[in-house]
Symmetry: D3
Subunit: 138 residues, 6 copies
Amino acid sequence: MVYVTRKIEFSAAHRYHNPAFSAEENRRIFGKCNNPNGHGHNYVLEVTVGGETDPVTGMVLDLKELKDILEREIMNRMDHRFLNYEVPELADQIPTCENIAALIWRLLTPKIKKGRLTRVRLWESSDLYVDCYGDGAK
Amino acid sequence: MVYVTRKIEFSAAHRYHNPAFSAEENRRIFGKCNNPNGHGHNYVLEVTVGGETDPVTGMVLDLKELKDILEREIMNRMDHRFLNYEVPELADQIPTCENIAALIWRLLTPKIKKGRLTRVRLWESSDLYVDCYGDGAK
Amino acid sequence: MVYVTRKIEFSAAHRYHNPAFSAEENRRIFGKCNNPNGHGHNYVLEVTVGGETDPVTGMVLDLKELKDILEREIMNRMDHRFLNYEVPELADQIPTCENIAALIWRLLTPKIKKGRLTRVRLWESSDLYVDCYGDGAK
Amino acid sequence: MVYVTRKIEFSAAHRYHNPAFSAEENRRIFGKCNNPNGHGHNYVLEVTVGGETDPVTGMVLDLKELKDILEREIMNRMDHRFLNYEVPELADQIPTCENIAALIWRLLTPKIKKGRLTRVRLWESSDLYVDCYGDGAK
Amino acid sequence: MVYVTRKIEFSAAHRYHNPAFSAEENRRIFGKCNNPNGHGHNYVLEVTVGGETDPVTGMVLDLKELKDILEREIMNRMDHRFLNYEVPELADQIPTCENIAALIWRLLTPKIKKGRLTRVRLWESSDLYVDCYGDGAK
Amino acid sequence: MVYVTRKIEFSAAHRYHNPAFSAEENRRIFGKCNNPNGHGHNYVLEVTVGGETDPVTGMVLDLKELKDILEREIMNRMDHRFLNYEVPELADQIPTCENIAALIWRLLTPKIKKGRLTRVRLWESSDLYVDCYGDGAK
């Protein structure tokens, strides 16, 4: 088994706000992230696929196919978007790094047919990232 | 003369839209950056101050003072903001990296009293940055 | 389960010297790191906390609380310090990256109340880092 | 147990070509990587050794010894080489990142006597890397 | 005047060899870079264009146009190539970082119509880069 | 003219203290950097040499010679040293990034015989660096 990781970047805006909280609670819990107009990030996504190396191609999976999947599932959905308003799966969630990474896991895992998704790492900034792993993954 | 550069980061959202253009022109010229809800970035700002090294302190300027200036003039104004709606100086401009860097130049240059502001470099993403220089600067 | 990693940096000096060795042995084993006056590094610390995402906040833990813990336990103890002389827990140890990382693990693990500390990664330079993991951690 | 990771870099050329394929198939499967003259990369290798910290030295292993092993086994074999023609172990394989990383694993694992090799990570470019792990490794 | 810099990456192989030298001289002067089969790098290119910001678009130049120029003039010519054999302009030169950067300057400078090319920076590895500047540039 | 930049790293300790100040003034002006035991950094040094490319070698200067100069003049003097006590040229100065960079400029400029030293950039941490330039340099 080897594990191949591909990195991509996307830019998005978001806002942290829970309608069940009062304005004051939202401000206290989410701080500047509760700013009504939102703010944004350059997200860096690392997607890891584990599998056997195919002896004919020397590859675990075709990186062009992986790129197409990432384009279709992630870039089209999230790049240059305001995540709260334009990504339906996040409509009822706080679009934290934790929740976005978990959504990316759910979006990608059924699409990877050669090998198996073993880790999604999402960087929100140069000092913060979140990892999601599948069962039995490294 | 030596030149001291300090780096800081802030997160902000923005949208490119010129009300003088039709919807179609805006889309053609600004592409995904015209998305009505906006998107965002982790901006990295490098501020360079040139001057003589003070023999008593070994420093061109007090970095704590510079940090206070950056906090007051840049972080408070731009961090966790939607630039189009919350930075009045950008209200009538497209908030491109060019225009934000030029604004930062105008905001900082009168505040630097020890030494002289010689360059503002603003990174919008890992593959794009803009430089503004003063007269006679390196 | 998701895993949140926060990065911080601190600057410290240290010296490798085992009083049980002769001067020559110390020099042979520790090389330039045995220099009597010491030398220093910009340490980069990555702290990983694993846990369930709280559906109300979208977070595994409050990052402001984590920042306070890191400030109190790590920055106050180690930043701008000479580790051999100013960190009592390292007084009888060689302050290698291995030993500092293990100490950070011991300092932080009882303080993380929401989620669980699962990895401490300490970079001593751009080409050397050490990882400590807890039981059952990724 | 702690895990020490050392990073090194080497520069090499390679070409993807399977003689069992037609020219057209090679082009379709390997794209620009099939270019007959080859192309190249700055490879970044991260080697992780896990073990107990020796209380006398504060180290899992002697980093000078590790450096010698990496120099002898990896740098001498691969640095400034055309991998297809100059690394005999890769002569019958496509020199993909997967296959090079697996070879590095096989070359290094018997040479690490203090501690145990637990991960080989090989970066081919800033957006692609491959990991190989041993049994029971993190 | 502001200065916009765009970064791109390409992978290429090269070999240092001057046919006017003896084999021994080539080896002595160029060291491992004289290896007959060649070796390779991930080159990182930073292209800087200086100009006035257009008040209508907020931009010095259209980054999509710049991307097209870089694709046509640089990527198509150099990416996934063996520079000695596939870039005719380098056929009679040692393809050092100095000569490649100077060639990129000559290729790009007539193509930049809005603003003016003011710097080409070419990284051959993480610890080596070369700059070419035009007249009067920063 | 082209400009070649080589990067190297060294680790050193230092302390900011002016014996002409009272203890309280030292503490107020230099903050944590006044800690009596000192602290340290991984310094990153970028040395730029400008010159004509030699048509016979394709190089501005022999990088092996530059490496030897940097080894002899900088690494031997500063790497794994406590700068205040072991670098005589800094004995009467505060070893700030400004003063260290200026010293490196003075040490290197007479040693560069092929081409001319045009910039010394010294990073003290990932968010602070200092530049020294010669006359007429870019």
